[in-house]
Subunit: 165 residues, 4 copies
Amino acid sequence: VAVGEAAVVDPDRRYVAVVGGTVASDEMLEMAEQVGRRLGERGAVVVTGGRDGVAEAACRGAVAAGATTVGILPGRSRREANPFVTVAVPTGLGDTRNSLVVMGVDAVIAFPGGYGTLSEMAHALLNGKPVVALGPWPAELPVEGRDDVIRADDVDGAVELAMVL
Amino acid sequence: VAVGEAAVVDPDRRYVAVVGGTVASDEMLEMAEQVGRRLGERGAVVVTGGRDGVAEAACRGAVAAGATTVGILPGRSRREANPFVTVAVPTGLGDTRNSLVVMGVDAVIAFPGGYGTLSEMAHALLNGKPVVALGPWPAELPVEGRDDVIRADDVDGAVELAMVL
Amino acid sequence: VAVGEAAVVDPDRRYVAVVGGTVASDEMLEMAEQVGRRLGERGAVVVTGGRDGVAEAACRGAVAAGATTVGILPGRSRREANPFVTVAVPTGLGDTRNSLVVMGVDAVIAFPGGYGTLSEMAHALLNGKPVVALGPWPAELPVEGRDDVIRADDVDGAVELAMVL
Amino acid sequence: VAVGEAAVVDPDRRYVAVVGGTVASDEMLEMAEQVGRRLGERGAVVVTGGRDGVAEAACRGAVAAGATTVGILPGRSRREANPFVTVAVPTGLGDTRNSLVVMGVDAVIAFPGGYGTLSEMAHALLNGKPVVALGPWPAELPVEGRDDVIRADDVDGAVELAMVL
C-alpha cells in the first residue's frame, strides 16, 4: 500500500482557537464569522468549544472557506456540536474541557465572553500561547502586574497576528 | 455571508475508532492499514490515539483514501502525532485520554494490544459502543458472565460491522 | 505560627485502591468490608470510586477502623459519595475518572466487577501498579501473552500483598 | 461488622478551596496560613492544588489546627504534594486539574496569583461558587458587565464568608 508524499500531513499547518461567548452581539458574531473565514482561507484549522455563539459563527466562516473546524465538546455526544463543526471531539469533561480547547493550538483569538471564555484565556496564557483579543473585552487582564493579552484593531489584524505569532 | 447547504456538516457521518498495540506484527499492521483504507473509502472519520503501531497504520490507510484521521493525543503537543493524523488533538491527559479515544465514535475496531488497548475496549463497552475484535486477541473478555466483544473474521467483515452496528 | 514535627504528613503513608462492582454478592461485600477494615487498621488511606457496592463496603470497613477514605467521584457533587467516604473528590469526568481512582495509589485490590472495574485494572497495570484480585474474577486477563494480576487466597493475603508490594 | 453512627461522615462538612500564587509575598503567605488555620478550627476540609506558595501556607495552617487538607495535584505522583497535604490526589491532568481544585468545594478563598489562579477563579465563578478575594488582587474581574468576586477585608472576614455563603 503505497502512500504518496502528498498524503503525509503538513506538520506546519496552523491551528488557531477562536473563543468567546455562547451569546454575543450581532456585530461580534459577524466579526467571528469573518475571522473564521480568513483563518480558513489561510489554511488554518479552526478549533473551538463546538457550541453556540462565537464558536458557531467562526466555524460557519471557516467551513465556507473549506477549512477544517474542530469542536472540543463538553459532553459525550457529537450531536451537541454546532452544524459547522467538521470534526467533533466529545470529551465528557464538562467545563474542564476548556483547557483542551486552547491546548493544541498555535494562537487564540478571543471575543468577548463570560467566565468560560476567561478560563480559556487564562489556560492559554498559562501555557504561553499568544492570545489576541478582538472587541471591547477585556479592558485588562491584570496578572502579576502585566497583561499579556494582545489587542487587535480589526479582523485582519487579529488573523494576521494569530497566523504569525 | 451566505453558506451553501453543502457546507453544513453531515450529522450522520460515521466515526470509527481503531485501537491496538503501539507495537504490532507486520500482519496486524497490514490489516490495520487495510481497515483504515476501507473505513476511509466508506466516508468514515477514523479516530485513534494518534501514536505508533496500529494507530499509525490505520491512519496511513485512511489518509490514502482521502479520509479525515483524528488523533487524540496523550501529551500537550501536536508534534507527537504520527504523520498520518490529519487532525491532532493534544489532551495533556496521559493515558486518561484513552476513554476519549472511544467516547465520540459509533464503533471501535480493536487489534491486539496491551493494557492501554484493554482500557479502551473496557471504556467503549462500558458505554455500550460496539467493539469489533480483529486478530487473535483477546481470547475472551469475561465480564459479568458475558463477553460483548464481537469477533470479525477479516478486514471486510470488521469494517462492515463497524459501519452498520 | 509554629507547626510541630508531628503535623508534617508521613510521606510513606500507604494508599490502596479497592475496586469492584457497584452491585456485588453478599459474600463479596463482606470481604470488601473486611479488606477496608484491615487496610484501615494498618494505617492505609483507602481510595475508591466513591459509589455503591464494593466501594461502599470497603469504605465502611475502613471508617470503622478510623481510616481516611477517599472517593474519586464521576460527577460534580460531593453528595453522590457513599456515606463512608471521608474525603469526597468530585471530578466531573464521568467514567474517565476511573484512571484517577488507581493513579495515586501504591496498590489495587480488585473484586469482581464490570467494564468499569476492568478499565481500572487496565489503567493500574498500564502504570505498573500491583493489582491483587480477590474473588473468582477475572479468570484471566491475558495481555501480551502474560497476566500480571496477582491472585490472593483470602482477605488477609490480599491486604498483606497490597501493603508490601 | 457494626459501624457506629459517629462513623458515618457528616454530609454537611464544609469544603473550602484556597488558591493563589505558587510564589507569594511573606505577608500573603502569613495570611494564607492564618486562613488555613481558621478554616481548620471551624471544621472545614481545605482543598488546594497541593503545591507551593499560598497552597502550602494554607495547608500548614490547617494541619496545625488538625484539619484535613486535600491536594489536587497536576502530576501522577503523591510525592509532588507539599508536606502539609494530608490527602494527596494525583490527577495527571496538568493545569487542566485547576477546574477540579474548585469543583467540589462550597467556596473559594483567592489570594493574588497568576494565570493558574485566574483559571481557578474563572472555573469557580462559571459554576456559581462563591469566590472571596483576599489581598490586593484582582483589581476587578469584569465579565459580562459585572464582577462576582467578593472582597474581604481581612482573614476573619474571608473565612466567615467562605463558611456561610
